[in-house]
């Protein structure tokens, strides 16, 4: 295991930060030393903070010509040995999708922070939305897996940012921090510890960088200039990186492994948080900023003796199937409030064997707790 406890990059203590500042600080704490991005609302404060802070900690900050260049240069930096990231919002996230597929097939660990705004198209650039979750999962062509985290607070913007790097390095996979405009621009207290637990890339000389004996393993990852001459390609390849573009077995082997290495570890990766689930008849399943409204609503309901609970999804991909199954067994009804037309509702329906309904809002505003209260009361 390559987990290590290292000294933090901010003095321990309390800070009053925006979500965007926190996510930038989390990345720095995790060891990110290459950032490339292109300005876009509501994510730009991330790159602005990195631009200042990287000069202090000795990282490379690049404002590139577009998001395509941003993520591609991030991949290049990662293969040169750096921990690297980019941040964007919907339109930029769309542009990055081809390179995300490239990162998936080349098993390049990287972090993308997507601060979601109200789409589609240019939509409402300064307003909130949660419309990028399905794109995060399916945005590039072909079969692959990613990890997507859904922070609900400034604290978690910081923590998920660190966690995203740890997961990326551990599983050699693109990891997304799916922030939303509301948490990105929210200012609240952030507690920073003196030390940070980080995962550093596993390097093993002489072992194949693109294959393992098992069908769900993660190979070690060397870097350019460190001795071994590497062959990295986005075409189908064998464990040494050698192109195998008309070998059916090589293709299946690679595709299955890059999927299995995430799915087989779903239990370890997928994270949820339970609130008032004991005896809950109606369970609200929520994520991101909406989970704040949901918790507020559930607490109001509990105060009036209503048996409501909340299951908060901290990880969206891989999907926490098991936790949803459990809730489906214990609750009479599940309600899924979302700032989109039901992207996660469909996933919940797949695994919850009870009545499931959505509460959807696409007006660029956060979902008010009272809406959730009314909806729950109607079915209780």
């Amino acid at each position: 295991m390559s987990f290590q406890e290292i000294k933090g990059t901010l003095p321990a203590g309390s800070y009053y930060f925006s979500g965007n500042e926190a996510v930038a600080e989390g990345a720095i704490a995790a060891g990110c030393r290459y950032y490339a991005g292109y300005p876009i609302t509501p994510s730009s404060e991330i790159m602005e903070r990195i631009a200042v802070r990287f000069k202090e900690v000795g990282g490379v900050f690049m404002q590139m010509e577009d998001e395509l260049a941003s993520i591609c240069s991030v991949i290049g930096a990662v293969w040169a040995g750096a921990k690297a990231m980019t941040a964007t919002s919907g339109p930029g996230f769309s542009l990055m999708q081809e390179a995300i597929g490239y990162a998936a097939i080349t098993e390049t660990p990287l972090v993308v922070v997507d601060i979601q705004r109200a789409g589609p198209g240019t939509g409402q650039a300064t307003r909130v939305g949660s419309g990028d979750y399905m794109q995060a999962k399916w945005g590039s062509h072909g079969d692959y897996q990613v990890i997507a985290l859904s922070p609900w607070s400034v604290q978690e913007m910081y923590e998920h940012s660190i966690e995203a790097f740890n997961l990326a390095e551990q599983y050699r996979v693109p990891v997304f921090v799916m922030g939303e405009e509301a948490v990105a621009h929210l200012r609240e207290r952030l507690e920073v510890q003196a030390t940070v637990r980080v995962f550093n890339r596993v390097k093993k000389h002489g072992t194949p960088p693109f294959g393992t004996d098992s069908m769900d393993g993660v190979p070690p990852m060397p870097a350019f200039g460190e001795g071994e001459r590497l062959l990295v390609t986005g075409s189908t390849h064998d464990e040494f990186g050698i192109r195998k573009t008309d070998d059916p077995r090589a293709h299946a082997r690679l595709v299955e492994r890059i999927n299995n290495k995430i799915l087989a570890n779903r239990g370890k990766i997928a994270n949820t948080e339970s609130w008032y689930l004991d005896g809950a008849e109606v369970v609200v399943v929520a994520y991101g900023f909406t989970a704040r409204s949901a918790l507020f609503a559930v607490e109001l309901l509990r105060k009036t003796g209503k048996r409501a609970g909340l299951l908060r999804l901290k990880t969206i991909w891989p999907f926490p199937e098991e936790a949803i199954r459990d809730v489906g067994r214990s609750a009479r009804k599940v309600l899924v409030p979302e700032m989109n037309r039901g992207q996660i509702l469909g996933e919940v329906m797949k695994y919850a064997r009870c009545e499931v309904s959505g509460l959807n809002q696409t007006n660029g505003e956060i979902i008010h707790p009272q809406r959730i209260v009314r909806e729950v009361e109607a079915v209780l």
Partner: protein, 266 residues
């Protein structure tokens, strides 16, 4: 070292058609690197997608075979994360100037220490003979069956205008000067561009009735002339070859380091 030591011979035979100019470029690129004495481990070759881009598979450096048009963007990340490595980016004309045109001009503007080699066969070889931004007016292609009505970019002028500090053009006919130019480009501190006029007998040649590879090479000899030469003066239609720009200008990685130092001093 011999040429063979730079090749990943286990990947031979290569995919290039008989008579393709890309092999000539690979040969001279190896010879240039060999005479410069750069270690294989100190070179990262980054390519995109195309017949030309497959060069990275055949060469025994660190190689990063990426996405169509994006090689320079990937290369920028590699260079900034490890400035001590030499970065060489061979690209097709479509790869570099159509889909990758934006990255090309911005890499030039940054004057980042990367060597870009444009293997210009005036066609999309890999996808079967569609026109490229360098095909030129009146040429025929599968997607210009009645004649192409686009003017071609002048790669040299484009690179110069965008700020590249080394810009040269040569052809697959002029192998000796090709090797020398590549050597200079690799040693140049800053963004260096070498456009190499090349031949695709399979598509550009056949479609445009340019004959076989030998005929096409002859054409490259006859249609070009050294910069400022007597032949060029007599016949202004000839395409000039040679080194157009070779200037000592602030390089991006060095500038970046200076800024970091300044910031850290506070």
């Amino acid at each position: 070292m011999s040429v063979r030591e730079y090749l990943r011979e286990r990947f031979m035979p290569h995919l290039w058609c008989p008579g393709c100019g890309h092999g000539i470029i690979m040969n001279n690129l190896i010879r240039a690197i060999e005479s410069l004495g750069i270690k294989k481990n100190d070179i990262v070759m980054v390519t995109g997608i195309g017949c030309s881009s497959r060069i990275s598979g055949y060469l025994d450096f660190h190689t990063l075979h990426t996405l169509h048009g994006r090689a320079l963007a990937f290369a920028t990340g590699v260079k900034l994360a490890r400035p001590e490595l030499k970065i060489i980016v061979p690209m097709g004309d479509g790869d570099a100037i159509a889909i990758g045109g934006n990255h090309f001009i911005h890499a030039a503007r940054r004057n980042i220490d990367i060597t870009a080699i444009i293997m210009n066969n005036r066609v999309y070889g890999m996808t079967g003979g569609q026109f490229s931004p360098l095909s030129g007016y009146g040429t025929l292609a599968t997607t210009a069956p009645y004649g192409n009505i686009y003017e071609a970019f002048d790669t040299v002028e484009l690179a110069r205008g965008a700020g590249a500090s080394f810009v040269a053009r040569t052809t697959t006919y002029h192998v000796r000067s090709m090797k020398e130019i590549i050597e200079k480009a690799i040693m140049h501190k800053g963004f260096s561009v070498v456009e190499i006029l090349s031949q695709c007998p399979t598509y550009f040649g056949r479609k445009n009735k340019r004959g076989d590879a030998v005929e096409m090479l002859k054409y490259l000899k006859e249609s070009t002339a050294p910069i400022g030469s007597e032949r060029k003066r007599k016949n202004p239609a000839l395409i000039e070859r040679g080194i157009f720009v070779e200037e000592d200008r602030p390089e991006y990685c060095a500038e970046y380091e200076k800024i970091v130092e300044k910031a850290q001093k506070g």
